[in-house]
Subunit: 189 residues, 2 copies
Amino acid sequence: MDLLKEKISTQGNVLSNNILKVDSFLNHQIDVSLMQIIGKEFKSRFKNVPVDKVLTVESSGIAPAIFTAMEFGVNVVFARKQQSLTLNENILTADVISYTKNERTTINISKDYINSGDSILIIDDFLATGEVSKGLIEIIKNSGAFITGIGIVIEKSFQKGRIYLDNAGFHVESLVRIKSMDNGKVTYL
Amino acid sequence: MDLLKEKISTQGNVLSNNILKVDSFLNHQIDVSLMQIIGKEFKSRFKNVPVDKVLTVESSGIAPAIFTAMEFGVNVVFARKQQSLTLNENILTADVISYTKNERTTINISKDYINSGDSILIIDDFLATGEVSKGLIEIIKNSGAFITGIGIVIEKSFQKGRIYLDNAGFHVESLVRIKSMDNGKVTYL
């Protein structure tokens, strides 16, 4: 997706060999026009896939998930990273290690919003080690729903997440696939 | 806003005299069609107000903020509640106490995305004690930008937030104003 590559080139910030900062359009400021285009792109890539709900994780996954869900005419569910007083005990959980925050968190989804038999499209901002995806997959498996696709805005293909998801047989679509970020320079697959 | 009142009546869950759970359309599952209508409603209520950016706080504010920003043709900035490895030191912070999570957190906004002189519309899911709004106001004040409006999806008018914001002279628009939730029943102003 050339527009996204251009955004990464002009506004992205390579902080180390494996951390890319894209706060200007995705992780802190949200470029709403770009997100609309991203939603249409995911719709096109998953056009033959049944989707009852789009699932993501707070917070940076919410914007691309919303615009994808809008294209499919379905709702979004976002997994929460902490349990709040307004989440009851009717929840499915999985432990994940956040790559950028370097801490273990529990992600939660209420059983009320993922039904057995639902076709679920997972949308997330980044794919790196695949920890978050594994957590979501575990939760969906326990809910009796099905994952019909996994859409990623930015994939760091040199980390192990993509290989894991491919080997597990999922239909993965990443809008950009980064081969390396060595010496501060982003190169694509 | 009658549609929102109907959603609260049919899907909301009064957990106590002051906690309303609306996980089915706003705080966990996102009703995308409703959010589109909410965006148009905020646009209509703030139609004479200059808006360069919509500001919210992760995570539940993001959906209504995005659809409001889309109507105005501007971007969203969401304040983060934790500092991640990809946020650098160029940040403005404020301490707030989360009402539903009952804990003190620091909210952060990068100076890169709020410019001196910007007209900022704050959008949030709930207004209760006004703690989060006060934090955002403090940050905007320190950035040299201006708050031109504060839009709230659900206001609990029996708590002190609205009175504080009115007294401080802000233009506040709440889509529904809840007078009380005594005995599990929501009544409106």
